[in-house]
């Protein structure tokens, strides 16, 4: 049973990718519908298995660590698998309607989409450093391809820039992996942890960790390494932007977080943790500030991603040399932040796409009067914004609450100020958009109405982001399930 | 009868309160106007037919309501009911103006407040009725809508609001000192309260605005001339007395000797009685003269009040005198005000009769023998008799009273003089005439059947002053007649010199 689930998660997406490579856009869409159905069921199945029995290690094909493919299937991983299923299906369904099927190169959307999904699952479940690298590369390359689908010169320029950043990041990460392997002779994270527990640390692995985290931070677009993100996310097609912002950047962060939680206590130090935290804070402030200044709707949303990603890096200081309960609070907070940001940002990009489609311009001030004609998409945008502003009862609020508790509990109150300021700044750039949409200018009565299915999808995502706050306890409880240790190396 | 009286009391207050509701129907204003004299009738019956001593508990009202009747309140209720009835009759003939509906509503509200406050015993409803009367009274004053009326209204309102606030603060402090919501508990508690002087000051000032205490009187001479005549009559006859009643029911009479406050009140009364006369004789408009006359008369009552404050033993006696004086002054002043609006008939005989009827209430104010004024003046004299008062200023009171009497007559003469220049020959609307005649009758004749009490002060038959008393009443009148004659001569000389 588990074998089928694992295979379903990791390899069927590859199969869909190959299949869609052979077909045109319309057939690709049909294949994708089937694929989405399968993926959603498989993801749910795995989630249920873990929810009932707890997490476990799984050696794919029977080859375990140190050389084989080792999968770590715990609550966090399956939660993200499920999240991916939700967001990717939404984006896929939306893209099927949204993307113009008459342009020939658009048919490559489907294979790229499936490669991306497969890579994401690989990252969530990966238990060793090299497999994580493979998954990461798969993600990066397909993401670059998706950006390039935009077709025009700007899109190409942005995708090249993205590619360079991604490669540089991968290089740094790979260097770190090599150092670790040289030092410990294993690539399994769990193996390294075992080794570290019994030996005192030296400077080498610390450098490796720093390299890996830096590389991943570049891929996650942490300030000041964020410059590649806004053009790429802003210029891509809306469903692509949604995928990129919601999931792709999270993958590299996920690896960084896993590494930090595993090695941070022994390899990291206070100054490094605080430094990362400060970079995260700077991202929050600077990203929000720049979002306020943008004239293009999707640029606002893209810079908002820069800011929201900043919150994630508060994980580093809030889990370093603090009590277990506070560390747990911080981890839970960050997890919720990842989930709620993924849902909300996807909803927001999709809704923004609808809005742009209907007013025929991507400028913020072109939205005047749209609240009269397109309230549904605007409403989705607004609900997603509630989560981004981390206002209750959204998942974003739950995340912020936990992070506030963690920062106050650990005595690092300055992060609390960052959290609050970030919330206010996000309100500043989001309400700029609402404000524009409420303006009544009599001449703007010409609107294109997108089809209902385009409008429903972002709404579903936004409602999920909003409702997350009410079920956070349940979501977090799956993560806290006992971990079956017998499969561990 | 014990069941009927509370019912009648509620009816007396609620009937005028129907007017704002009736006003919602646009075409009922004629009916409302004709019903004006009917509004105070339940109150009139209540005052005439019932004895004092009933109580009506209304526990759901405000902070717990209690309405009741005693002799003093009955007298004030009667005065209020009679005056508003005759003024109402008069108003039916007088009113032919735009905004009749508005006037009727204000009239009803003011009346309800004025009637209610005489019966209310709990602080909440007393203050409510008082405020209702104050605020609705504004509508009567500015009704004519002239610039002058608006100015008078503004002054009235500013002072009234200040007064209300002073009362509010005073009552709050007093109620908290007494830990009770009933007026009847206030005097006892006040006598012992640590903040006694502050409370007394606040209450005196607050009610003093209504009662025309010197320096708090500015609105009176402005408001009376500009208000419609029936409104001036009730303003001066009844509403001004509400301030007096307010003092009587809140201040600690009979509990403790407040000689300081007594002296201040006596001084204030003297300044009011004489100062108002000096200012009054300089006025050119008849109703302004009457307004000053009211201030002057209130000064005399304040004089008695001061004595009562200073001497707790004498307070009960003085209370009945003040009640009597208020009744007398209210009725007489009411008829004087109403006379300002009548026209002289064409015939010679009719003119003479009219002039006599105009002059008689005025002379009654001045204490003309065989009038209510004579009785009131004598009772006041007896009440303030030096040897029965335990008060430092007692010796100054008789000359002050004499001066007050002179001032009264001078003002009446001045009124008649200014009126003679203004009265025109013409036809009186029947209702107007009826109202005025009823007022004069009430003042001159019906007064003698009213339930005032002068037991032990003036011997019966009260309308026949003893011979030594006649002289006491008459010589001040002679002095003022002489003064008036002098003024007339001077005036004639001046006018002949000018021509």
């Amino acid at each position: 049973m588990t074998l089928w689930l694992m295979a379903g998660l990791l390899f069927t997406p590859l199969a869909w990718a190959v299949l869609t490579l052979l077909t045109d856009f319309v057939w690709g869409r049909r294949v994708t519908w089937v694929g989405i159905l399968v993926q959603v069921f498989v993801s749910l199945g795995l989630w249920l298995t873990v929810a009932q029995n707890g997490g476990f290690y799984y050696d794919l094909g029977g080859w375990g660590a140190p050389l084989g493919i080792e999968l770590r299937v715990d609550g966090l991983a399956v939660t993200f698998v499920l999240l991916t299923a939700a967001v990717a299906s939404a984006c896929g369904l939306h893209a099927g309607v949204y993307i113009d099927r008459h342009k020939s190169w658009h048919r490559y959307f489907w294979p790229l989409f499936w490669f991306l999904w497969s890579g994401l699952n690989a990252v969530w479940l990966g238990g060793d450093l090299f497999n994580l690298y493979v998954g990461l590369e798969l993600i990066s390359l397909s993401a670059v391809g998706l950006v390039a689908l935009g077709g025009n010169a700007n899109a190409l320029r942005a995708s090249i820039r993205y590619l360079l950043a991604a490669l540089l990041g991968s290089l740094a990460y790979l260097l770190g992996v090599a150092l670790i392997y040289g030092q410990f002779g294993t690539l399994s994270i769990a193996g390294v942890v075992l080794w570290l527990d019994s030996h005192s640390a030296s400077a080498g692995p610390g450098l490796a960790l720093a390299l890996m985290v830096t590389g991943l931070a570049l891929k996650t677009a942490l300030f000041p390494l964020h410059r590649w993100l806004p053009p790429a996310h802003g210029i891509a097609k809306s469903p692509v932007s949604a995928l990129l912002s919601a999931l792709v950047v999270k993958a590299s962060f996920y690896i960084a977080a896993r590494l930090w939680l595993a090695f941070g206590e022994s390899l990291g130090n206070q100054a490094a943790a605080q430094a990362v935290g400060f970079m995260g804070s700077a991202a929050v402030i600077w990203g929000s500030w720049l979002a306020c200044k943008q004239v293009q709707l999707k640029q606002v949303v893209a810079y908002s991603s820069v800011a929201q990603i900043g919150y994630l890096f508060l994980l580093f200081p809030l889990t370093y040399s603090v009590s277990d309960s506070i560390s747990l609070q911080a981890q839970q907070g960050i997890t919720l932040q990842v989930i709620s940001h993924a849902l909300a940002k996807a909803a927001m990009f999709l809704a923004a796409g609808n809005l742009i489609l209907s007013v025929g311009s991507s400028r913020v001030d072109a939205l005047a009067g749209v609240s009269r004609f397109l309230p549904f998409s605007l409403f989705s945008f607004g609900l997603a914004g509630v989560s981004l502003m981390s206002l209750p009862p959204s998942g974003g609020f739950a995340a912020k609450w936990l992070l506030l508790q963690a920062s106050l509990g650990s005595g690092q109150w300055w992060w609390a100020l960052v959290l609050l300021a970030g919330g206010l700044l996000s309100a500043a750039y989001l309400f700029r958009i609402y404000r524009a949409s409420f303006a009544e200018i009599p001449e703007t009565d010409q609107f294109f109405h997108p089809s209902k299915s385009l409008e429903v999808i972002p709404m579903v995502l936004a409602l999920m982001a909003l409702g997350l706050g009410f079920v956070s306890e349940q979501v977090l409880s799956v993560m806290a399930l006992p971990f079956a240790e017998e499969g561990a190396p | 009868m014990m069941v009927a009286e509370p019912g009648l009391a509620v009816l007396a207050v609620c009937l005028p309160l129907l007017y704002p509701v009736m006003a919602l129907r646009a075409n009922w204003h004629r009916a409302m106007c004709f019903a004006l004299p009917l509004l105070p009738l339940p109150a009139f019956f209540l005052a005439v037919s019932s004895d004092s001593g009933w109580q009506l508990e209304l526990p759901w009202l405000l902070n717990g309501g209690l309405w009741a009747m005693d002799d003093l309140r009955r007298l004030f209720l009667l005065l209020t009911a009679v005056l508003w009835t005759v003024a109402g009759v008069y108003a039916v003939g007088y009113l032919a103006l735009p905004h009749m509906r508005r006037f009727c509503v204000c009239w009803g509200l003011t009346l309800a407040g004025n009637l209610g406050l005489t019966m209310a015993v709990d602080i909440g409803s007393f203050y409510s009725f008082f405020a209702l009367m104050t605020f609705a009274g504004y509508g009567l004053i500015v009704h004519e809508g002239t610039k002058e009326a608006h100015y008078a209204g503004r002054v009235y309102m500013a002072m009234a609001v200040l007064g209300e606030m002073s009362i509010l603060a005073g009552l709050l402090l007093a109620a908290s000192a007494a830990d009770s919501q009933l007026l009847t508990d206030l005097p006892t508690a006040l006598a012992r309260a640590p903040q006694r002087d502050l409370i007394v000051a606040l209450l005196i000032a607050g009610f003093g605005v209504k009662a025309g205490l010197p320096l708090l009187h500015f609105w009176l001479p402005l408001a009376h001339p500009v208000a419609p005549t029936p409104a001036s009559a009730v303003l001066s006859g009844a509403m001004i007395k509400a301030g007096l009643l307010g003092w009587l029911v809140t201040l600690p009479f009979g509990e403790v000797a407040l000689s300081g406050w007594g002296a201040s009140m006596v001084i204030a009364g003297a300044v009011g009685a004489i100062g108002a006369a000096i200012l009054g004789v300089l006025q050119h408009r008849p109703k302004a003269v009457l307004a000053y006359s009211s201030i002057s008369q209130m000064g005399l009552m304040v004089l008695m009040l001061g004595a009562a404050l200073a001497d707790p033993e004498r307070a009960p006696v003085l209370f009945s005198v003040i009640g009597l004086y208020a009744l007398h002054h209210g009725l007489a002043k009411g008829s004087l005000f109403l006379s300002a609006g009548v026209s002289l008939p064409a015939g010679r005989m009719g003119q003479v009769v009219t002039w006599i009827l105009i002059a008689l209430p005025g002379l009654s104010l001045a204490g003309l023998p065989f009038t209510s004024g004579a009785l009131a003046k004598l009772a006041m004299k007896a009440g303030l008799a030096e040897d029965s008062l335990d008060f430092a200023l007692a010796g100054y009171l008789p000359p002050l009273m004499t001066a007050g009497a002179i001032a009264t007559l001078l003002l009446v003469l001045r009124y008649l003089w200014t009126l003679s220049a203004k009265l025109e020959t013409g036809h009186n609307p029947p209702m107007l005439l009826a109202g005025w005649l009823a007022a004069v009758t009430a003042s001159l004749i019906a007064f003698w059947w009213m339930p005032w009490d002068v037991a032990g002060l003036v011997k019966a038959p009260v309308w026949l002053p003893a011979s030594y008393q006649v002289w006491a009443l008459v010589w001040p009148m002679l002095i003022s007649l002489a003064l008036a004659g002098l003024a007339l001569l001077v005036n004639q000389k001046r006018s002949s010199a000018r021509s």
Binding site: F397, W401 | P59
Partner: protein, 498 residues
Amino acid sequence: MTLEQWLPVFALMISLAASLVIFALPETGYVRRTSVNLGAAVLKLVVVIVMVWGVFHGVNYGVSFTMLPGVTFVLRADALSMMFAGLSAVLWLLTTIYAVGYLEDSPNRRRFFGFFSLCVASTMGIALAGNLFTFFLFYEMLTLSTYPLVVHRGTEKALRAGRTYLIYTLTGGAVLLFAIAWLHSLAGDLSFRDGGHFVDADPDIHRSLILIFILLVAGLGVKAALFPLHGWLPQAMVAPAPVSALLHAVAVVKAGAFGIVRVVYDVYGVEASSALGLLAPLSWLAAFTILYASTRALWQVDLKRRLAFSTISQVSYIILGIALAGPLAAVGGLVHLLHQGIMKITLFFCAGNYAETLGIHRIDEMDGAGQRMPGTSVAFTIGAFGMIGAPPLAGFITKWVMGSGALAVNMDWVILVLVGSSLLNAAYFLPIVHRLWFREVKGAWPEERHWGRLETSPWLFWPPLLTAVVTVVIGVLASLPFSPLSWAELIVLREYAP
């Protein structure tokens, strides 16, 4: 779940569901929209009445579940919640009726009514919240759902006002969140409890408690428009009249004041807050706000702006009453929560009627409006006198009880504040009343509309008249059971003898 658990949820869900249904209905289906709206409002009123009856007889309504690790979501009905819930239920019904008439033939009605219901759902949540966390949840929801109402007109001025509104309220919300989180990390998940939690708090945390209290009051004070955090309110006056009515009379400002009451009573406890020395400064601040805002009101020429400053002043009465730390004064403050709501909504309805029927916005245009619109003007007059505190209207009851309460705890200076405020109120309301009734009409009205027999549309005519009657009735019959005064006494009784 039992009925005791269901009712609060149900009360909350009614307006929420109404809001969703309204959003789902098409813009043109106004008959359906109106029936949904009115039906929901009536239903909610019935539910609230049932709950009021239950709470009076000691039934514990409540439901809770864990939302986050260590944090519960609690809905609970006690006497204080029912006071606010009752106010919001009654005024929601009236305001809905009014708004239907007011927005006749104007665009974006679906959006308006949808957010309107959402806003009411938030107030319901605020009323029923059983701990600070839940309170905050709905407090922020209120901010969000009122923004679209403030900017409803979509004019430049409205948008600017909306921005000011947000800057104030969201910053306040952030401060509040910080304080709540701090308190949570200090003392855990505190549900509201009569008598509070900190009666014998560890002296070590006194400093933190004081700081948290200041932050809490600052955060809540924004909505309660405490000086100097009141700047948003006069600007928000650009909103349509029903919104001003609801915002000012019920939802936003009251939410802030209600929150302060909750903090003082049910989180800290009166005893503890006064032992920490927190209440005296709060009372000075409230007293200053009362006088300051009334003074500012004198200079306003726009009717609604004058009313807005009056609101700022009046809401501080509630806080003053609480801060005096005496049972009787607290009754005065709490009862004003209802009294001010009813009176102020009357005034705003009337202001809306003048604007909608005659096109009058400025006070100097109001000359003689009483002859053209007697019903509305009667209501306005009653509301204005109520605000001044003229007996026997609702405002007088507040002043009297609060004054007595202040004297009972030897705070005599409060009398000066009450008197001063009444004088100022008189100074800015009486000239309006004078203009209404005793000035002659200047000429043609700016934009007159006719409705036949009544002076204005029946939807607009009856609500203010009704609230005016209520203003008189709750004043005159203040001592009846279930009157606002009696209910406030019940609350205070339970607080002081838990």
